[in-house]
């Protein structure tokens, strides 16, 4: 085992510790590789493939967030083939997912000249906003399935295992077991999932309400307990007038 691995990235000689990923090695040489699903504090799963690079001698493009450096490796991070792959990934994402609140991905689209109209026939993934708890909402129309939320809910932080992938193929989505509302799952509402979401598919409820134009005072009178109380009051007030209709 050597102490240091020698490789070239975009023609620059780089010396790094063994076991390092290409992504980290490139960063250490000041070369930035774009990523979506990768997060410094989550386990990398090479899901989005935006970080692919060309490695001399490799048949396919290699996901740099998980691929480790090796001696004599020659890596190219911005070849035409790489750029086309990234552009296509971004175009497919833009076609199927609402990226309106993902500024980083939008910036990549501009950088790589990705057209969001590239696949006009394609179906948009749509699901209604899930507002089933007082802490945060889930808008899976904005979800790019990066898996970070699932990771932090599991071994990357919380060991709670409240959410995971459900469905297959195009129907794949993040969800709870049997689609139960979050309070009825093992969820502890730590919000680590909200913190690592790259597209604002997960959002604190008060932020969501504020963005919809509610004033802070309106929001603070919107607790579920208050709503329930108000509902009961209204029901009670209604009862005599309608002759005890239940």
């Amino acid at each position: 085992m050597t102490d240091s691995i020698n490789l070239t990235i975009d023609g620059n000689p780089v010396h790094v510790a063994p076991g390092m990923t290409i992504l980290k090695a490139a960063a250490s040489a000041g070369i930035e590789i774009p990523t979506i699903c990768y997060h410094d504090y989550c386990t990398a799963n090479a899901l989005c493939r935006l970080c692919v690079v060309e490695v001399e001698g490799a048949r396919t493009l290699v996901p740099s967030c998980v691929a480790k450096v090796s001696e004599g490796m020659q890596v190219s991070t911005h070849t035409e083939r790489v750029k086309r792959a990234r552009r296509t990934i971004l175009e497919m994402l833009a076609t199927t997912v609402d990226l309106s609140e993902a500024p980083d991905i939008q910036a990549y689209m501009r950088e790589y000249g990705a057209q969001d109209e590239r696949f006009p026939e394609a179906e948009q993934r749509f699901s209604p906003v899930l507002d089933d708890n007082p802490m945060y909402i889930r808008d899976y129309s904005k979800c790019v399935l990066c898996w970070r939320c699932v990771q932090v809910c599991a071994e990357d932080a919380q060991y709670t295992h409240a959410i995971n992938f459900t469905g297959r193929g195009f129907e794949t989505q993040i969800g709870t077991f049997f689609d139960k509302p979050l309070p009825e799952t093992t969820c502890v509402f730590c919000g680590q999932c909200v913190a690592v979401c790259p597209t604002n598919a997960l959002k604190p409820k008060r932020q969501w309400l504020l963005e919809q134009g509610h004033s802070p005072d309106e929001i603070m009178s919107l607790t579920r307990t208050e709503r329930r109380r108000r509902m009961r009051r209204e029901a009670a007030a209604e009862q005599p007038a309608t002759g005890g209709k239940s």
Binding site: Y136, K180, Q192, A195, L210, M220
Partner: protein, 720 residues
């Protein structure tokens, strides 16, 4: 609509972990909380309270104007006023003058003994330093205490006796270095959630082995190698039996015992009777489990003990904590990274409030008030005539409450605490509060205690003021003002200075103890001048990252773990122990043991979290009962039950669960609708004066829905 994103970095106001929070705001409305992934304490992780529980700041029930009671309150007829119509709004000048006049009247008539204060483990170090300074220097009383009495008082006393310190010996994150660790009397995953994450990672990723000793099957048991399900209150016998096995099998660290400890022989002799068989008969724990646990801990390279309130909150809490300390001294698992004696402190700043002398026997820095040199030192620091400060030990919280009445405490000042929820035997506490001649509450909501007050002073929340908190592993961290004070609310330190100046003027003493601080950083400089451990703490030094005290001077980097070469008292002292029993054993009339505690979503007396959307997640008190007991008593899941002790009775819903062992029921103490502390008793540990919250004899019987205070408050949860 795109929001503005103004970000202020601060420290979480809930538990003692001390997570870094970044508050994201539009105007003065916090709409999102994040934490940097390189934050030193919590590595970006937060729990539900830190992430979402800050909204109490904006709750519309918050009081933001000084209030004076419309009907003058008289001792014996004092009543609670929750409704604003029973108060009239006052100016700050009027409210403070009124307080100063009334306090002076009582002080002049009855003297120092009549004056008492409850400080606040939620307030900053600066606030707590000032309030104890105010009462000690102006009213010359040491009746200064706070809720530490009700949580880790016995741990502090035991640590003082055995090693001469009173805090976690090691950094919480060092759990990553443990190969074996004991968690006892702590529901870590609910009450110190971020430390629990680090514990889980240590087990799952590093292969550390966990021993849980607890009468409840708390979540950490899912990660444990061994679970010792003891009967409440039997800690001394379980841990002493472990020591017995370690002694018999020679698993102890002779070199450490020789070099660093004293009183070993007497201790070893006292362990003779604690055979595993004997401990089994007392605690109900299988003798083989005790032997296995002793071998696991005794053979470990780096072993640590983490405990919380299940250890100290007993009439023999000091003995419980000493049993743990004995184990660490016996095996030499102290004074190195990844070892230690680690009482997990509850409140965000209970360590700091204790360090600041918010206690009846100590000036700031644990300097005894009955020591002449200490008194002289503080007389000089506070510009007081020689002999002016009171040399007598003051009363503790529970003693202050008991002493209320003629000849005892007449005027009480409460800063941010809620003894009417947190003291034991609340019917007794209520009776005592009714006898007060004068009561001031300084808080953000009118809670059960503040409702008794004559004057209510609206303080700012943690988001509206600057200061510092000291977390459970002794890290002093910045609290930063993020938003403007709501309404006319003022930061505690300013209120205290304004009141102190008024009192000084009325006292007519020649010297001032000094109250002209411009900023909390000035107060911290004064703290550093009287508390050697805080000498190195200045605001510029902790701007980016907190420093762990002791920090002896401005070049000292802080102390991640204590006792590397020596103990503050010199040698660590073994303490011989004898059996210890609960004050109240179950009997025919009251056959079950009630143990109290907390849940993830709520905080203590509920002043903050019951005014937050957190309450939607956990809206009602639930009593946990084992399926075996439930079947016998005809109690179904979710059905109402009446729980009765010799002191009181409450009705709440039952949660039938294996989480509690047969013979034991558990009730969280957050809910005024079914206040668990109506049932508990105010018998106290003789050394630490801490009440026995963790064991009261009760009986349980089915009740009807109509007896519930709020039968509609229900939330189905998957994790309970």
């Amino acid at each position: 609509m795109t929001l503005n994103d103004r970000v202020v970095s601060t420290t979480c106001p809930f538990c003692g972990v001390g997570c870094t929070l970044q508050l994201h705001m539009q105007d003065d409305f916090i709409y999102r909380v994040t934490s940097p992934h390189d934050s030193v304490v919590n590595h970006g992780n937060l729990c539900v309270k830190g992430r979402f529980g800050y909204d109490f700041v904006y709750n519309q029930k918050r009081v933001t104007t000084p209030l004076i009671r419309r009907t003058p309150q008289k001792p014996g007829q004092r009543s609670q006023a929750f409704d604003l119509s029973e108060w009239r709004e006052a100016t700050w000048d009027e409210a403070l003058d009124y307080i100063a006049d009334r306090q002076m009247e009582i002080y002049r008539r009855d003297g120092a003994h009549a004056m008492a204060v409850f400080c606040c483990a939620k307030a900053t170090n600066e606030d707590n330093y000032l309030i104890e300074k105010l009462f000690r220097s102006l009213f010359r009383t040491n009746h200064v205490d706070h809720c530490t009495r009700l949580c880790h008082a016995a741990s502090v006393v035991a640590l003082q006796m055995a090693v001469g310190s009173s805090a976690m010996s090691n950094t919480a994150a060092e759990v990553a270095l443990n190969d074996v660790f004991i968690v006892t009397g702590s529901n870590t995953s609910e009450n110190h959630p971020i430390i629990a994450l680090q514990m889980k990672a240590a087990i799952q990723k590093n292969g550390a082995k966990l021993i849980v000793v607890d009468p409840r099957r708390v979540e950490m048991v899912n990660y444990a190698t061994l679970w010792l399900p003891e009967k409440p209150g039997s800690d001394v016998s379980v841990f002493s039996a472990m020591a017995h096995v370690i002694l018999k099998e020679k698993l102890y660290n002779q070199a450490f015992i020789d070099e660093r400890t004293e009183n070993f022989a007497a201790f070893a002799a006292s362990m003779e009777k604690f055979t595993p068989e004997y401990a089994e008969s007392v605690s109900g724990v299988d003798r083989n489990l005790i032997v296995e646990a002793a071998r696991l801990y005794g053979n470990a390279k780096n072993a640590a003990i983490y405990w919380s309130l299940g250890i100290p909150e007993h009439t023999h809490g000091t003995a419980n904590a000493l049993a743990l300390i004995n184990l660490a001294l016996l095996t030499g698992n102290i004074g190195r990274p990844g070892t230690g004696l680690n009482p997990l402190r509850g409140q965000n700043n209970v360590q700091g409030a204790s360090d600041m002398g918010a206690m009846p026997w100590h000036y700031p820095g644990y300097q005894r008030v009955d020591n002449e040199d200490n008194a002289r030192k503080f007389e000089q620091a506070w510009n007081i005539e020689p002999g002016g400060l009171n040399r007598q030990l003051g009363l503790t919280t529970t003693e202050i409450v008991s002493s209320i009445g003629p000849g005892g405490v007449q005027a009480l000042y409460i800063m941010g605490e809620n003894p009417m929820m947190s003291e034991p035997d609340l019917n007794h506490t209520r009776h005592k509060f009714e006898q007060l001649e004068f009561l001031v509450a300084q808080d953000i909501f009118i809670n059960e205690s503040g409702a008794f007050a004559d004057v209510f002073l609206p303080a700012t929340s943690w988001a509206e003021k600057d200061g510092t908190f000291t977390n459970t592993d002794r890290r002093v961290q910045r609290v930063r003002q993020a938003i403007q004070p709501r309404g006319q609310a003022r930061p505690d330190w300013k209120i205290l200075c304004d009141l102190a100046k008024r009192l000084e003027a009325r006292l007519g003493r020649p010297n001032s103890a000094y109250w002209d601080y411009q900023h909390p950083s000035d107060i911290m400089r004064e703290i550093g001048s009287v508390v050697p451990e805080y000498r190195g703490i200045t605001y510029p030094r902790i701007e980016r990252e907190g420093i762990q005290v002791p920090s002896w001077d401005e070049d000292h980097p802080g102390t991640p773990y204590l006792f590397a070469g020596t103990f503050p008292r010199g040698r660590g002292k073994f303490h011989p122990l004898d059996d210890a029993h609960m004050a109240e054993m179950p009997d025919e009339d009251y056959p079950l043991i009630l143990t109290t505690g907390r849940v993830l979503e709520h905080w203590h007396g509920g002043t903050l979290t019951r005014h937050s959307w957190l309450d939607d997640l956990f809206p009602e008190a639930l009593m946990e009962i084992n399926p075996a007991d439930a079947a016998r008593l005809n109690v179904a899941e979710g059905s109402p039950v009446r729980v009765t002790s010799r002191r009181g009775s409450i009705v709440l819903r039952a949660r039938v669960t294996q989480k509690t062992t047969p013979g034991v029921v558990f009730i969280p103490f957050h809910f005024h609708e079914a206040a668990a502390n109506l049932l508990t008793q105010d018998v106290i540990d003789p050394q630490a004066k801490i009440p026995e919250y963790k064991a009261s004899a009760v009986r349980v019987a089915p009740a009807s829905e109509s007896e519930l205070v709020n039968p509609e408050a229900r939330q189905v949860r998957g994790r309970y």
